[in-house]
């Protein structure tokens, strides 16, 4: 098992693939959540979006995939471009057809459909033959053998982890070029987290799928990503090559739980320490 990501294919720091410029998002007409966020995902790269709870990571992803409308959120400023075209007013359906798909935080499987039906709906936007569909399905099962076992169970009755796999698998069925992954590791066993990131890397390497992933598990995320952004309070406060970030002292302390001479036991962390904030 390889855990080294340095070997990401050398893509020229080419024309921006997905780029977000100065986006501002307001919920419910009054709650300002994103205060001008700009970031870029070059083609064929894995970009991690890191940050504490409530920093606005999910909101950023949703503003790209245009799922905000359903939550009474609004992009009030800024622009979003994918492959040179403005996509900020497109429907999610158009976006999926263009190859941008989001895996939402918190699983969101279709509870009353079986696992297999869940996966099949993932291919809704593709007009493909039965055999191709079968192949895609097999591919997903290959990545997630556990799903194959539970293929006939209603998704609502499967365990949290199984649902997470189902959600990711479902997105893969759409054969996307750009996946927005929201907290893929949440609630997954360590082994599976590792597996999922391997799958991410695989897809990235073999099928040139680009990723923008919002993660809390900074350690793993920085290990697999090429580039990282760190968000606080609706703003990007730091960015850089993943390697560089992983070695940054602040990041080490606040996001990796490493201080000075390595990892500190959770038992020994002091309660009264103050957290440092950039900006804001």
């Amino acid at each position: 098992m390889q855990t080294n990501t340095a070997a990401a294919p050398a893509v020229p720091a080419a024309a921006p693939y997905l780029s977000i410029n100065n986006v501002e998002v307001i919920y419910d007409h009054v709650i300002l959540v994103l205060k001008g966020v700009s970031l870029e995902v070059p083609k064929g790269r894995i970009v991690a979006l890191l940050g504490a709870n409530g920093a606005g990571k999910s909101t950023t992803l949703k503003s790209i995939s245009n799922l905000l409308g359903a939550e009474r959120g609004d992009v009030t400023k800024g622009s979003i471009e994918f492959k040179g075209a403005r996509i900020d007013r497109m429907t999610p359906n158009d976006l999926v057809r263009r190859g941008v798909i989001q895996v939402m935080e918190g699983r969101h499987c279709f509870g009353h459909l079986t696992i297999e039906e869940n996966l099949l709906t993932g291919a809704y936007t593709r007009s493909i033959s039965r055999t191709e569909l079968k192949d895609s399905l097999e591919k997903v099962y290959h990545y997630f053998p556990r799903l194959k076992q539970r293929r006939t169970s209603q998704a609502g009755y499967t365990s949290g982890g199984e649902q997470q796999m189902c959600a990711i698998g479902r997105a893969l069925m759409a054969k996307p070029e750009m996946i927005l992954l929201d907290e893929p590791s949440m609630g997954l066993a360590p082994q599976i987290v590792e597996e999922i990131f391997e799958i991410v890397k695989d897809l990235n390497a073999k099928e040139q799928v680009s990723f923008l992933l919002a993660e809390q598990n900074t350690m793993v995320a920085l290990r697999y990503a090429d580039y990282g952004y760190i968000m606080e309070n609706g703003r990007i406060v730091m960015e850089g090559e993943a390697k560089g970030l992983a070695n940054n002292e602040d990041v080490k302390e606040f996001y990796l739980g490493l201080s000075g001479e390595g990892r500190k036991s959770f038992r020994d962390v002091k309660h009264y320490r103050r957290r440092k904030r950039w900006l804001s």
């Binding site: 098992m1 855990t3 709650i31 890191l50 940050g51 504490a52 709870n53 409530g54 920093a55 935080e105 918190g106 556990r146 539970r150 169970s153 009755y157 499967t158 365990s159 949290g160 982890g161 199984e162 997470q164 796999m165 907290e183 949440m186 609630g187 997954l188 066993a189 360590p190 082994q191 599976i192 987290v193 590792e194 809390q216 598990n217 900074t218 350690m219 606040f254 996001y255 990796l256 739980g257 990892r263 036991s265 959770f266 038992r267 962390v269 309660h271 957290r275």
Partner: protein, 277 residues
């Protein structure tokens, strides 16, 4: 039995209580089997939980960890097996009875009451302890008001403890995930439980937040002597803070013991930990 009491211990006096003594068995599960239709969620599982300890349950996804908690607090009723709680054989019962016996819990997929504020959510945790009736509530005068304020005081202590003073009045639906988890813990704590079941309390948090959460869990355990059953996927956390760990896999128990023991159990490594840890 040591009833933890949030009120009568002044903040600095609390430290004095902080002496962890692992006591006798409070909860003893014997040969529990549970299945749903064809799916066997738990097969013949036995383990026990001792007074004041932090007992973790780990295992791959779908292993049956959450189901185990559901069995303990009466949401699921196992087809086979015996449950002894505080020396008494547990009959089939409803969750609210378990709550009345002092078992509180948090949920894997946050189960806060979305339409209510943080304060109200935590206040519901004290529901069992409030004695006024509907008519007194309608009047909101005299006893009812006094009671409300009494309990509000206790809830405020939980709020202080979890450091969520500034979001008291916020509707929980608007909070970020991590804070919601914290509020959920608060709701469970408000009930002053003797046994606290935590289902992945740290999922979706970054290291810093996990550190905070660990601190809270350890403090609860230390200061109030609350027995804790914890499900968690972060091995760092589990290995650092638990006293004993049970490992489940596909509904079967494959390991049980102190963290170090479990960590080196080859079966556990194969099924769950993988080699990278």
């Amino acid at each position: 039995m040591m009833m933890n009491d949030l009120i009568h211990v002044a903040p600095d006096a609390q430290l004095a209580v902080a002496e962890r003594r692992i006591g006798g068995v409070v909860l003893d599960l014997q040969n529990i089997s549970l299945s749903f239709g064809g799916v066997k969620a738990l097969t013949n599982i036995s383990f026990d939980v001792r007074e004041h300890e932090i007992r973790s349950i780990i295992g791959p996804n779908g292993a049956g960890k959450s189901s185990m908690l559901n069995v303990i607090n009466g949401v699921y009723h196992p087809q086979e097996g015996r449950i002894m709680f505080r020396g008494e054989l547990r009959q089939k019962m409803e969750p609210h009875v378990a709550a009345a016996q002092g078992i509180a819990r948090t949920f894997q997929n946050i189960a806060l009451f979305k339409g209510m504020s943080v304060l109200d959510n935590i206040m519901t945790g004290r529901n069992l302890k409030m004695k006024c009736n509907l008519f007194q509530h309608a009047l909101y005068w005299g006893r009812a008001q006094k009671e409300e304020i009494e309990h509000r005081l206790k809830v405020e202590e939980v709020i202080d403890f979890l450091e969520i003073q500034d979001i008291r009045k916020t509707p929980v639906g608007r909070l970020p995930y991590g804070l919601q988890k914290r509020v959920e813990l608060g709701r469970a704590l408000a009930a002053e439980p003797s046994l606290l079941l935590l289902d992945e309390p740290m999922a979706g948090m970054n290291v810093e937040e996990k550190q905070d959460m660990c601190r809270f869990i350890l403090d609860v355990n230390d200061q109030f002597g609350t027995t804790i059953v914890l499900i968690e996927h972060d091995m760092g956390v589990v290995m650092d803070i638990s006293d004993r760990v049970v490992v489940l896999d596909y509904g079967k128990k494959i390991g049980d013991g102190a963290p170090d023991e479990v960590k080196n159990n080859p079966e556990v490594i194969a099924a769950y930990l993988g080699t990278s840890h």
